[in-house]
């Protein structure tokens, strides 16, 4: 397992991703003040959070794919992967629409980086996950519904 772990970590580093991984709890947001947008992370609805983060909430549907479970196995740690073929991506942000504070993470990417980020988000209840890709000054969005259920009663 230790070898695999190393390979995994190397792979992560190789992506030159500067991630504000608040949702994963890996870094305290305060530790990366340069990119920290307190207003955005504290906004209580998604349009407000998008505006606070990007200066506008005008988005259009774009080449933004979200991979996440249809039904969460554990709402406290929902794995989510965003991929996009858009060129010159500046940032990828993830919003959990029904969370009290929807902005879960904002990844600031170098211009030459592939559009790929993966993390885990916390979800209080069934919600749309929204991913916003910022590139060339424009905002592109994608979304996916993830169900959070009390469980039981199957089969």
């Amino acid at each position: 397992m230790s070898m695999k772990r190393r390979t995994f970590l190397q792979g992560t580093m190789a992506g030159s991703v500067v991630a504000i991984a608040t949702s994963a709890g890996l870094l305290s947001p305060r530790a990366v003040l340069a990119a920290w947008s307190e207003k955005a992370f504290e906004a209580e609805n998604t349009p407000g959070a998008i505006s606070a983060l990007f200066g506008s909430d005008a988005t259009n549907d774009g080449d933004v794919q979200i991979k996440a479970p249809d039904i969460a196995e554990n709402g406290a740690v929902v794995p989510i992967t965003i991929t996009s073929g858009i060129k010159n991506i500046e940032a990828i942000a993830i919003f959990v629409d029904k969370n009290p504070r929807p902005l879960a993470a904002n990844f600031v990417l170098g211009g030459a980086t592939d559009g790929y980020v993966s993390t885990r988000v916390k979800m209080g209840k069934t919600s749309k996950l929204i991913a916003i890709v910022k590139a060339g000054g424009k905002l592109h969005s994608g979304s996916k519904e993830v169900k959070v259920t009390i469980g039981g009663c199957g089969g």
């Binding site: 991979k67 039904i71 039981g152 009663c153 199957g154």
Partner: protein, 570 residues
């Protein structure tokens, strides 16, 4: 139900291609039923969801199995007379008894019990005798559902499946024996006999596959890939703590990768052995390319002909093979020129009276049961009504369990999970402890009593209803609606979550969202302190009564479903 002429002709074409016997007669001999001419060069035998029923049993099919959205009126959401009409099965025939609830009591007496591993083995041997190299596939839910499987930690079923000659299996309830037990069986017992496959179970931390995703077997010189698909929602529908290091899910992107990989490795036929549930199988077949057939289970649907699903890569057959050892599916493929060129399909009901017990298997079953016989055979009460479970809402056996909880636990409301397994008991027959165990034998059976407010009770009903009636099958879990005692409600399955349940009442009074109610239940998926198991609650209740008459079957007022072919009133 108004088939168009085109639908009817298509259906007939499918039925004849599939070898459905269109001229059924009640006097047909076992020879006719079970002598199927060999076809092609690759044969796959499939059973699923036997729920550890080693002995022949009765099992009543549902009269309510509603389909909503695109599923409305489509297989498998067709019951009773509509089902017989769709598949041109003669009313009153033994096939009609096998595939429908119609005239259940009389037909059950007339045609006898179904299933049983000794009878199934006779049939498997007979079918395989003409099909060299055929594979026997077990779709899972094999280790759970009986007293002896629970008490032997699934060992009785593990050894029975080896004796039956299972080649490949996948799982669901198997996981409720815990991750370690599953791995122990695979490493020790299955080492040289049974391949356990599941492409959609992933190490939660590292993202690596936990099991072999598929196995490639040579059948008469043809490489055949069997890809496993375990129940995608195991950690949600069952306790997550039992498999806490594993992540499940549908993962049809990984399924596509595995299909491509198996093809690259030379597989000329690709079969998915699935525990998705049939609606999920149908959707998956429309999205993933290159699968020849999905042989599935979980939702306990017996369907006598494959559904042909078109996708970007061609066509995929979707087959589901019922439950409780009642059916054996036989898929014969003609593989030539590197691909499947034709097929024939038969779904055979396993009538115990028409198939002599295989002696070796019978001896094995007798030896497994011997230490437990006194406890199993305890007569608790006599049934005055047919007791059954299967259906979207309360069956009579669930009603009995709910009534028992209300009385023994002194509760106002009782919840019992919408499981689809559990055998039927005929009127006049004894209800034994073994019968109760077929309805309750799980590894987390503690009965509970909680104070829940009206608002939370509604949330529970809405959540479970959405797991059953979500218009997108990928958001369904495949169980039936939670069974309810005391509480009455209306349900509109076509509505969205939060809006399906209305008019909740208790003893004629509206449920107050803020008021606390005493609610009994069992099978909590949370880790709770061990307490009195549900079977002891039910047994105590039954011993205190001499006979069981179900006074009222607490089925909700169902809105907007009167013309749905998945609904037939009794």
């Amino acid at each position: 139900m108004g088939l168009t002429r085109r639908e009817f002709l298509q259906m007939m074409a499918v039925a004849s291609a599939a070898g459905v016997n269109l001229s059924t007669s009640s006097a047909q001999a076992a020879d006719n039923l079970y002598s199927i001419p060999k076809f092609g060069n690759v044969s796959l035998l499939h059973f699923t969801d036997c729920h550890a029923q080693l002995l022949p049993i009765y099992f009543r099919e549902p009269n309510i199995n509603l389909g909503v959205g695109d599923m409305k009126g489509n297989v498998p959401h067709i019951v009773g007379n509509a089902f017989l009409k769709k598949y041109n099965i003669k009313p009153g025939s033994k096939e009609a008894h096998a595939f429908s609830f119609l005239d259940f009591e009389n037909a059950a007496r007339r045609f006898g019990k179904v299933g049983g591993f000794a009878h199934l083995r006779t049939l498997v041997k007979q079918i395989r005798a003409q099909r060299a190299g055929s594979l026997l596939l077990d779709g899972g839910d094999t280790w759970q559902g009986s007293a002896t499987s629970l008490w032997t930690n699934a060992q009785d079923m593990v050894d029975a499946c080896k004796l039956l000659g299972v080649d490949v299996m996948t799982g669901h309830w198997e996981f409720t024996f815990g991750a370690e037990r599953v791995q122990e069986v695979i490493e020790k017992d299955f080492q040289d006999s049974i391949s356990f496959v599941a492409q959609n179970v992933i190490d939660a931390e590292w993202g690596e596959g936990v099991f072999d995703p598929y196995v490639i077997k040579e059948v008469n010189g043809v490489p055949v890939a069997i890809i496993g698909q375990a129940f995608p929602y195991t950690p949600i529908a069952n306790p997550r703590y039992m498999v806490e290091k594993w992540s499940f899910g549908i993962r049809d992107d990984r399924m596509q990768e595995m299909v491509n990989k198996a093809r690259d490795e030379g597989a000329k036929a690709v079969i998915v052995l699935s525990h998705n549930g049939m609606d999920v199988d149908l959707k998956m077949a429309s999205r993933v390319r290159g699968i020849d057939a999905i042989m599935g289970g979980h939702t306990h649907d017996a369907v006598p002909a494959p559904v042909e699903v078109s996708n970007a890569g061609g066509k995929t057959l979707v087959i589901n093979s019922g439950s409780n050892g009642k059916f054996l599916s036989v898929l014969d493929l003609d593989v030539k020129g590197g691909k499947v060129a034709g097929y024939k399909f038969n779904q055979l009901p396993v009538f115990s009276n028409l198939l002599p017990a295989d002696q070796e298997m019978q001896d094995y079953i007798d030896s497994v049961r011997k230490p437990y016989l006194a406890r199993l055979n305890e007569k608790l009460a006599v049934a005055e009504d047919t007791l059954y479970r299967r259906g979207n809402f309360n069956g009579t056996f669930d009603q009995l369990i709910c009534d028992a909880m209300l009385e023994v636990k002194d509760a106002e409301i009782a919840f019992s999970p919408g499981f689809r397994w559990g055998v039927s008991v005929l009127p006049g027959d004894d209800i034994t402890f073994e019968h109760v165990m077929t309805q309750t034998a799980i590894t987390y059976a503690t009965s509970t009593l909680n104070e829940l407010d009206g608002e939370f009770i509604k949330t529970v009903l809405e959540d479970v209803a959405d797991n059953l009636f979500n218009a997108d099958p990928y958001y369904q879990q495949g169980g039936d609606m939670v069974r309810v005692g005391g509480l009455k409600y209306d349900i509109d399955p076509m509505e969205s979550i939060g809006k399906r349940i209305t008019n909740m009442t208790l003893n004629g009074k509206a449920i107050n969202p803020k008021k606390k109610y005493k609610v009994a239940g069992w099978a909590s998926v949370q880790q709770i302190p061990e307490g009195k198991p549900i079977w002891d609650v039910v047994a105590e209740y039954l011993r205190s009564k001499k006979t069981i008459k179900i006074k009222e079957l607490n089925v909700p007022n169902i809105k907007g479903m009167k013309s749905n072919p998945g609904y037939e009133t009794l």
